[in-house]
Symmetry: C2
Subunit: 254 residues, 2 copies
Amino acid sequence: MTKKPLILITNDDGINAPGLRKLISLVKHLGEIIVIASEHPMSGMAHAVTIQNPLRVRLLTEETDYKEYLTTGTPVDNVKLGKHKLASRLPDLILSGINHGSNAAVNIIYSGTMGAVLEGAIDRVPGIGFSLDDFSPHADFSHVDVYVIAITKKVLREGLPKGVCLNVNFPLNSSEPLKGIKVCRQADARWIEEFEERQDPHGRTYYWLAGRFENGDDRNDTDEKALADNYVSVVPSHTDFTAHDYVNKLDFSL
Amino acid sequence: MTKKPLILITNDDGINAPGLRKLISLVKHLGEIIVIASEHPMSGMAHAVTIQNPLRVRLLTEETDYKEYLTTGTPVDNVKLGKHKLASRLPDLILSGINHGSNAAVNIIYSGTMGAVLEGAIDRVPGIGFSLDDFSPHADFSHVDVYVIAITKKVLREGLPKGVCLNVNFPLNSSEPLKGIKVCRQADARWIEEFEERQDPHGRTYYWLAGRFENGDDRNDTDEKALADNYVSVVPSHTDFTAHDYVNKLDFSL
C-alpha cells in the first residue's frame, strides 16, 4: 500500500477563519493532514519569524490521519514548527489559505499566506497559497471547490519545479462562472498608502495604515488581468529576489 | 542652488543599534537626513506591516537638515510613514542598516533591513541595505566606511534601474583588507532549523527557534562566494517573485 501524502495546512487569518475551514474540508480526503495555525490573525506578517520570543503550541484535535495545532507563531513559524517538530517527516505538500483577500501582484510580499508557502519552497517542499479577492470574514467561497481540489491533486501527483510554489488567486464570486485557470506573472501594482492621523482619549497622536490598491500594469499576462477577466490566476513563485537582468550591468568598481 | 537629496534612513535592530549610528555618521553630510527607526529590535520581521494596531511616532532630534523619529512600527512601516507622513516629499534614497548579521542569500526574505529597502523599490525609490556578517552588538564596522560612502554616492548620482534596490553585505573585519566589490546573484542557501524544547517554571512546554546556516550553492557568482572570498557583495534585488522560467511551462487546464 502506498503511504498517504503528508499535507501541512496553515493560513494567516487565524485558526478559526472560514477560509481555513473551507480549505481543510476540500482536501481532507487527499492525505494525512496536519493543520498548524495561529491563535491570532497574522495578515501582513509576510515572512516574519519569531526570534525574540518563545513559541507555544497546543494540540487541539487528533483523529486518524488528522491533527490540528494552535500556535502563538507567525505563518512562517508554523511551517518551521511543522517541518522540524510537529510532523513526523518533511511534508509532501504545504497548503495555505484560503486567504480572505487577494494576494495577487505585490500583495505576495506582505502576505503571511504566501510567506508560509515560500518557506516551504526554500526546503523544496511544493506549496500552494490560495486566496480569494474578498476581505470579508463572510466571503463566499462556493465557486472555488473544483479548482482547489484539481490544483492540489495535480501538484500531489506531479510535484512542482525545484524551489517553486504557486500563488493562486480567485476572483470574487459573481453571477458569471469562472472561465478557467491562467498561469501568469505577478503584476507590477502597488498600494497608494495614507495614514489616518487620530488623537487618543489622552490627546496623543496615533497613525493607522490605510490605502487603496492601484494597478498601473497594463500587460496582458499578469495575475491582475486574469482576475479582472474572471479567471483563476496561478503565478509560479520563488524566493530568488535577484534582479538578474542587472547583475552583469551594474559596475561598482571603486 | 541644487536642492540637497532627501535620504531616509532606517534599520531593523532598533534606534540605538551601533550599526545605525555608524551608517548615519557616514552619510550625514550627503543630504537632508530623516531617520525613522523602531523602538525595539525588529530582526526577522521581513516585510511585515502593522495593520491590526495603530502606530506611535516620536520626534527625537531636529537639527538643520536632520530629523530623527522613533516609532512603534516595523521597518516597512517606517518607510511607509516616511513616504506618506513624516517626510516633506518622497525620499530620493532609502538606506537601511548597517545590520548586525548577514542578509546575503535567503536571509533577504527574513530581513527587516531589506524589507525596508524593497518597500522603497515598490515605489521606485532607490534603496540600499547594508549588512555586516557579524551578529554581535559590538561588531567592528571599521572596514566598511569607504564602501558605504562610495556606493551611496554612486546611487545618489546615477540612480538605480526602475524597481531595483541593492542588498550589500560586508564580510567580518579580519586582518586581510577587503578585496573590493562584486555584483552577484543571491545564493541558494538556507537555514537548517531546530527548535529547542524547554519547560517554563509552570511545567509548560515552549519552543525556541535556533538553527545553523547551510550554503549548498557552489556557483561562483553568488553573494556567499563573494563574502567567503573577502569581497563586498552587491545583489541587485526586486519584488517580482515570479519564477518566469515556468510561466509558459506549467499547464493547469482542467
